[in-house]
Amino acid sequence: MDQLFVHIDQAIIHWAQAVLPDWMAVIVAMKIPIVAIAIFGPVTMMYLTLIERKLLARIQNRFGPNRVGKFGLLQPLADGVKMLTKEDIVPEKADKIAHLLAPILIVIPALLVFAVLPFGRNMIAVDLNIGVLFFLAMSGTTTLFIFTAAWASHNKFSLLGGMRSVAQMISYEIPFVLSVVPVLVVVGSFSTVAIVEAQPGLHWFVFTPWGAVGFFIFFICAVAEVNRTPFDLPEAESELVAGFHTEYSGMKFALFYMAEFMNVFTVSALVATVFLGGWQGPILPSWVWFLLKTYTLILIMMWFRGTFPRLRADQLMGFAWKFLLELTFVNIIVAAIWYEMRSPLNHLTAAAILIVTIIVLFQFNKTEIPKKRIYKYAYAD
């Protein structure tokens, strides 16, 4: 059961070698993971939209889409068809080329990143030895393409949304990138497979002190990187209409939507791989563990969406620069100390240092409540 998909893969390759000329067989062998990802990506995206709408509905004590198909299972198809048939309006003064290019450019990194995720034991499309760094680089490029989308639609709202989203993604990218460093320090290699192998059985990194803090920071920054609540300032419906994708309709808007949900999947998959031990788990087959962890993280993200109000712009920035960044720096140092101190009480020291830093940072960031002012001349008495 564990190596189910690997056996399927081998079977197809054997069949290809038997039937096709050998160079064609090699191409087929290379193409299998590509086809798998090309199917898996959009399908997960479609059913994530459905799961999100169902979950949010249940949180708000109502049903969720259950008209189309048995339990609303065909709703994503209906949305897809609707998006296809919707008219594609391009603003008259918009920068035609950039307006068309932006959605395409946003989907490419979202799809490329699937190649680096270890779905199960030796079930990884490309075992890059810079796996995690490749992921971070790809998520870095989406910032630029979001801004091209905002600038190309020649509309004040989308430009404002674009500026806000770029500011947010840059300020959350630094803690996002640096909170993985402790794991790399301990594992010693970028490759995702090596990271997962370094967490055998139940020794996941999240149970170490620096791992827990790292997981907290990495997950928060992941939510911010994907522009989801409570950090969805760029698409704030209330004030910015729809942020950077205001002027998009029809299939282009669907591409933005698809990129967002694929990013949600890949980012929570990376968090699961780096901190929750990827496909490591006691009994269940490896890929079941991987999907289980990723989907719990996705559900937590959707749970966030059902609970939290939107953060103000300055709170958003303050949180990243004044709290997360310092915590990440300390976390890296603590991980190094923990790694060097072989003695068993390294957990204690690491935990102690981290708790002290968290308390100190909270003191610094405490919003100072002004003392009650006394207006000498206001009172008539």
Partner: protein
């Protein structure tokens, strides 16, 4: 401690999420076409005409009061005439233009013969806007039982009044018949004493459609 508010908020939504699965009163949405919400009794939508047994003779006597009273003037009635052209107490055509009617219920109040009432039917989508929504008499007529079913209290009250009026009429008719009989005997006794040349005319029955004895439900 720090961030407890965040966890409390999450706990609330989690409770909401979990309870919506097993607590029935949390999910109040009625999935409309399959399950319906019973209308309130006094709910009034477009009017309809009542007939007692046969759709041919509705209670309506084409007195035209409702047509006059109707605020948006959407009722048009044409009185029926028999072969010789004598007007009958029956409408030949009775049109209500549902696209104009604002279901105010004035026609129901002003109708002296309790012939027109407000219905509970509201799924009346049509294809044509003009001719389809102009309801003629055959689409308006509905049996008495329908009225009893949708508005039991009003129906019973009105039935009771009708029955009382009927009894009163029947009693009046019997009294009149008895009086006529008594006068007849008196006349006969007089005639026997003094032959009277004037022929007795039996007081004729008031031209009243014979109302079937309405059995009280």
């Amino acid at each position: 401690m720090f961030g407890i508010g965040v966890l409390k908020g999450m706990a609330v939504t989690f409770k909401n999420f979990v309870e919506s699965y097993y607590k029935k009163e949390r999910l109040t949405t009625i999935e409309y076409p399959e399950k319906r919400l019973a209308e309130k009794e006094r709910f009034r939508n477009f009017p309809f005409l009542i007939f007692d047994e046969k759709p041919e003779d509705p209670r309506c006597v084409a007195c035209d009061i409702c047509a006059k009273e109707c605020p948006p003037q959407c009722i048009t009635i044409v009185r029926a005439q028999d072969a010789q052209g004598k007007p009958l107490k029956k409408p030949a055509t009775f049109d209500i233009d549902y696209s104009i009617c604002m279901n105010c219920g004035v026609c129901e109040e002003v109708c002296p013969f309790d012939a027109i009432f407000m219905d509970h039917e509201f799924e009346l989508a049509e294809y044509g806007r003009f001719e389809d929504l102009n309801y003629t008499i055959d689409r308006l007529l509905k049996p008495k039982e329908h009225f009893m079913k949708i508005r039991p209290t009003d129906a019973t009250r009105i039935e009771a009044e009708l029955k009382k009026k009927e009894n009163a009429k029947k009693a009046a008719a019997e009294k009149a018949a008895a009086a006529a009989k008594a006068k007849a005997e008196a006349a006969k006794t007089q005639a026997s004493q003094v032959p009277d040349t004037k022929p007795e005319t039996k007081p004729n029955e008031p031209a009243q459609p014979a109302d079937p004895p309405a059995e009280a439900k």
